[in-house]
């Protein structure tokens, strides 16, 4: 570990602590804690969404996947980006208009039932937990590689940092950590792309011709099919990627940090540009790593290809760029885990404690206190889980989180806003069917069972052949909601009229949800 790495690493830690210090002074109400008081601008929130979304899996994982598998690695970039059209066209504005702090608030704007809120909170906690373990395990492995410290120490460092941000600075600190990280990450990407292009004399055609000869795959490197050979498996993965984002609680929560639907919309637009440019640049990083680092060196550093981007930084920019990119990767992890802690804590403190146990009879002070306790609990729990999960496959955990989000949350969101006949029973069955079918199908899939020892959790023949079950579990989530609705006679035309008017016009009454 060189001195430059340590200095940059400490600079980032210091910067985030300064942010937290100032944010803590401004965090007084539950609204401040969960949603930064709803006072972010579209630009700020857009950057924060990008900061929340572009996880280490995106930055290091996709660059590595492109370096190793060419076009197939790029599939992720496309799916993760187009997901924002689903968010923009169908989800962002009604969500902002109907909700307050959590996804459950939005669904409960139509149904008062506690079981609906409970199911929504359960989904949020499940998704955030899987996502969080994935991030922490990835973080541990990465920091271990970058700085040469032990896995448990790495997890503990990230864990303590995220706890500090959320516990003291709430959503204000979390948002600003995400904004700073998004800017640093984009700067790092642009510098690396520039250096890679410089090596190819800014000739993109030349770059394609060159990478064809540098990898062992030859021409096949530029064609799809190196990694994904099963048509249905590929389509199922693509479905989870494009629909999952619109159901991820930590991303949805970001829409409550702005004042109205119009700002929510402009934040999606900013996020889409930033994220889109980022994913275009992953191509140059991937190709650059394939050409200037080489397949064997990437694999030797980490079999998953996660070190491709930092190694490329070293190859094209020397030690200083390597230190900078490593520090950015660290900031990336911190920003994402902080957002996850907050979304998990909001489900515990606001939904389960505040609304279900206390039935909404909590003072502002009690709410903030509950939110802080919940954040601490969520942090400690995920650190402990991550310490035990060291050998779990990170990509599997992330794709599982996306799959549950798409199957369990998206159907209920769409039905709540757009389907007149939808009712309480349907809301519960939609959420539970989606959640259970995703969990069960994954647990009997090749991600868990593999005939080859060590390739998955257990040795055995998988009963279900798709690694990512979205192709089956998403339709099941929709079907569950549909059948559940028809099974119950309940129908509230008046309430739906209110939801419809509010969702589409942004009208807010002083009563019901606020």
């Amino acid at each position: 570990m060189s001195a430059t790495v340590i200095i940059l690493f400490l600079a980032i830690v210091l910067l985030t602590l300064v942010i937290t210090f100032f944010a803590a002074k401004r965090t007084q109400t539950a609204g401040d804690f969960y949603t930064a008081g709803g006072g972010l601008t579209g630009m700020q929130n857009g950057l924060a969404i990008a900061g929340d979304y572009l996880s280490a899996a995106s930055f290091l994982g996709i660059a590595g996947a492109i370096a190793l598998f060419g076009f197939d690695g790029f599939f992720y970039s496309i799916g993760f980006l187009i997901a924002y059209l689903v968010v923009l066209f169908l989800v962002a504005e009604p969500l902002r208009n109907l909700g307050k702090y959590t996804l459950a608030d939005m669904i409960n704007s139509r149904f008062d039932a506690r079981k609906v809120r409970g199911a929504a909170a359960l989904n949020t906690i499940t998704i955030s937990t899987f996502y969080m373990i994935a991030q922490l395990v990835g973080a541990g492995a990465l920091i271990q590689l970058l700085f040469g410290i032990k896995y448990w120490m790495a997890v503990l460092i990230v864990g303590v940092m995220m706890t500090i941000y959320v516990l003291f600075g709430g959503m204000i600190a979390t948002s600003w950590v995400q904004i700073v990280k998004a800017v640093l990450l984009m700067a790092g990407m642009v510098i690396m792309t520039f250096l890679v292009l410089l090596k190819f004399n800014f000739n993109i055609g030349q770059m394609f011709t060159d990478v064809k000869s540098v990898t062992a795959h030859g021409e096949a490197y530029l064609m799809p099919g190196l990694q994904y050979t099963e048509p249905l498996g590929t389509i199922s993965l693509m479905l989870a990627l494009v629909l999952g984002t619109a159901g991820l609680p930590h991303i949805l929560m970001r829409f409550f940090t702005v004042r109205d639907a119009k700002t929510a919309r402009s934040s999606v637009v900013v996020a889409t540009w930033v994220i889109g440019i980022f994913y275009v640049l992953t191509l140059f990083l991937g190709f650059g790593a394939a050409a200037f680092v080489g397949h064997d060196t990437i694999i030797a550093a980490n079999p998953g290809g996660n070190m491709a981007a930092p190694l490329l930084a070293q190859a094209v920019g020397g030690d200083i760029l390597f230190a900078f990119i490593s520090a950015v990767a660290f900031a990336t992890i911190l920003a994402v885990v902080a957002g996850l802690v907050l979304s998990g804590a909001s489900a515990f403190a606001h939904d389960l404690y505040g609304q279900i146990i206390k039935k909404g009879n909590v003072t502002e002070r009690e709410q903030v206190k509950a939110a802080r306790y919940a954040s601490l609990a969520v942090s400690v729990l995920s650190i402990v889980l991550a310490l035990f999960a060291q050998y779990l496959n990170v990509a599997f955990l992330v794709s599982l989180a996306f799959c549950i989000a798409a199957s369990a949350n998206l159907p209920v969101i769409l039905y709540t806003v757009y389907w007149k006949r939808f009712n309480t029973t349907g809301a519960v069955t939609a959420m539970l069917t989606g959640l259970l079918s995703a969990l069960i199908l994954v647990s009997i899939s090749p991600s868990v069972f593999s005939p080859i020892e060590g390739a998955a959790l257990f040795v055995g023949e998988p009963i279900f052949s798709l690694t990512n079950p979205a192709l089956v579990s998403v339709p099941l989530g929709f079907l569950g909601g549909y059948v559940g609705t028809l099974l119950s006679k309940e129908k509230d035309i008046k309430r739906y009229a209110e939801v419809k008017v509010k969702a589409n016009t942004g009208y807010k009454s002083s009563g019901v949800s606020h």
Binding site: G39, F71, I82, T272, K494, N504, T505
Partner: protein, 115 residues
């Protein structure tokens, strides 16, 4: 901070939301939104899934177009461009919907009686 200051407080009389949904202006907003959102959503989903479907079941995207750059890369690039274009189109259109929505809110606050 400002989230609830946007609109005036609810008038003393309770708003009949069913009546609002049956008003001509609201129906028009719903109709306009649907006419805009549904076709474009169907379009981008088909455009998106066309990529994995074509790469999984056919090989013609592997034909080189410009030097060694094959159709599959151009199609991938088209996905990015489509996303940005649709984003811009949506924002333009949403500004029109905003105006319609403001009009509906104004009518509601005046008593919501107007049909």
């Amino acid at each position: 901070m400002g989230a609830e200051k946007e609109y005036k407080q609810e008038p003393a009389k309770e708003i009949d939301f069913v009546q609002v949904t049956e008003s001509r202006s609201f129906k028009k907003l719903m109709h306009d939104r649907k006419k805009f959102i549904v076709p474009l959503t169907v379009f981008f989903m088909i455009f998106y899934f066309l990529l994995p479907i074509l790469t999984s079941y056919t090989t013609f995207l592997n034909t080189p177009v410009i030097g060694d750059i094959s159709w599959v890369w151009l199609f991938a690039l088209a996905q990015f461009i489509m996303t940005w274009v649709l984003c811009t189109v949506y924002v333009k259109k949403a500004a029109v919907f905003d105006k319609q929505a403001d009009e509906i809110i104004r009518e509601m606050e005046e008593g919501g009686k107007r049909q």
